[in-house]
């Protein structure tokens, strides 16, 4: 469904990604793991059109999307939950959600989408008139995910959903991810919390200094000697 071939990208003169090959099939949950500065966030930014790839192709259902502006990519069906949630702090929860339906195809169904998202996350409905900045960390993550779902994406990209959250909340966030999966969404998650991530994804890629070092199913990754020593501390 989503396919990257020999994608390179970077900022200014600095190259952050080198010839990345990657694919995500419909209905799958795929993880990208790796240390700080490996290029994980850059990878998601390239896919969602926030930066342009320097070379290579990115296709969604066979259609080339590499280099298109972000608003076209969202309209094509890729939604991005950015790092650190990035809610609009002084808008209410409901306004944050409404904005998620900004793409033209979603606007006509604003009401239905809101009802659906509130159904998924009743907590947000309780807090719909609160300013987003008054939500707890876990609720903010919930709101950010819900906001992305408002465009009814075919793929959801999540950038470090557990970053900066207390351990108890991290568990809740991964439960949230699990529920999104059960709703039938395809997800691509970037995480540093490898142990928890491998519990919710089917396959994972290991990214190190801008290249894919390893790829495999969650079970394979968990058992891999390199991952075990370098990342799982075993």
């Amino acid at each position: 469904m989503l396919e990257l071939k020999k994608v390179s990208a970077g900022y200014g003169a600095f190259k952050a990604l080198f010839d990345i090959d990657m694919s995500v099939q419909a209905g799958e949950a795929v993880g990208v793991i790796g240390p700080n500065g490996a290029g994980k966030t850059t990878l998601l930014r390239v896919i969602s059109g926030l930066i342009r790839p320097w070379s290579g192709t990115i296709t969604l259902n066979g259609q080339e999307i590499g280099g298109k502006p972000a608003y076209e990519i969202v309209a094509a069906g890729i939604a991005h939950v950015p790092e650190n949630r990035r809610l609009f702090p002084r808008l209410t929860v409901e306004e944050n959600l409404k904005i998620g339906a900004f793409v033209h195809s979603a606007r006509g169904q604003l009401r239905e989408r809101l009802a659906w998202v509130y159904d998924l996350f009743p907590r947000l409905k309780e807090r719909r008139n609160q300013l987003a900045e008054t939500l707890s960390g876990g609720e903010q993550q919930m709101c950010a995910i819900a906001r992305a779902l408002m465009s009814r994406p075919t793929i959801l990209l999540m950038d470090e959903p557990s970053a900066g959250l207390a351990p108890v909340i991290v568990d809740q966030v991964f439960e949230l991810v699990q529920r999104i999966r059960e709703e039938g969404f395809t997800v691509l998650i970037v995480e540093q919390n490898i142990q928890s991530l491998l519990d919710v994804v089917e396959r994972a890629y290991l990214l190190e200094v801008g290249t894919i070092k390893l790829a495999g199913t969650a079970a394979e990754m968990r058992e891999h000697p390199f991952v075990r020593t370098a990342y799982l501390g075993m």
Binding site: A79, H80, R86, L87, E95, N96, K98, I99, F102
Partner: protein
Amino acid sequence: MKRNLLFLLGVVVITAVLLLIGVPVYTMHILVQVLLWGAICSGWTLLGRFGITSMGHGAFVGIGAYGVVLLWNHLGITPWLGVPIAAAAAMLLAFAVGYPCFKLRVVGRNFSLVTMAMAVVVQLTIIAARDVTGGSLGLTPKAQTSAPLLALQFPNKNVAFLFALGFWLVVLWVMTRLNASMTSLSLAASAEQEDAAEAIGINVAREKLKVLLLSAAVTAVGGALLGQYLMYINPETLSGSPVSLQILYASIAGGMYTVLGPTIGSGLTLALTESLRVLFGTRFIGAANTIYGLMLILFVIFMPQGIWGTILSKLQGRTSRRARSLL
């Protein structure tokens, strides 16, 4: 919706009373200007409230005022056509400046500087083309005495008042419509987190440009009506940086996050200018500008919501950064 209707009813009643009891000509003169400047400032806040601070809206006022008078005096084109043409010209300039700015993400003070330069360029162009525009001496529309309304001229102050009132109401309506729109929500969002707004699928540049064009058009029409009403336009009073700053000042002082704030701010600035003029005559020409500058500093620091915004949030017990009703 109900509140808007009540508001409209109130305006109609007040207008009827004013016209029936007969208001002194001088008061009418001030009211017309408050309404027109109020509409212009409201036009500025369409964009200004989202942190996109244009310091060059004087350029649009100038294009509106000069466009209409030049078309009328030199080509005999009636201001009824001149107004839309001038508004289109202002939108064209807004597009030429706004498109590259928003596309290249020129924001904050850099956008302010670019727009400031735009106002200076327009003002200097008007002065330089003195053969056509009369230069610094200004210009008077050719009087149409037999049927002044055909040339959009208002020897009768009551008629002028009705026109100004109508235009002002239309602008307020545009403002409330915009407030309720997805465009407004998306600009509020991108003012807080431009990256996140992009990531969510908002074409931020296009949304900004839409509102800038609307704002330029409103401002230009306001400038045109002011020129037609005053029957004298001059590059100093109806274009350029001083006007731009005056718009900024009135909007901020009144409260740019409210619908009525910009108009209240305009009322205050005009009251200030007029009282200084009455009290000191010509002895302190320019004093008003000094005081504006000083008050602008004080307002930005101590009362960023403006007078009306502060009153409203005290009344409602909450701070609102976006107007939600006609008040």
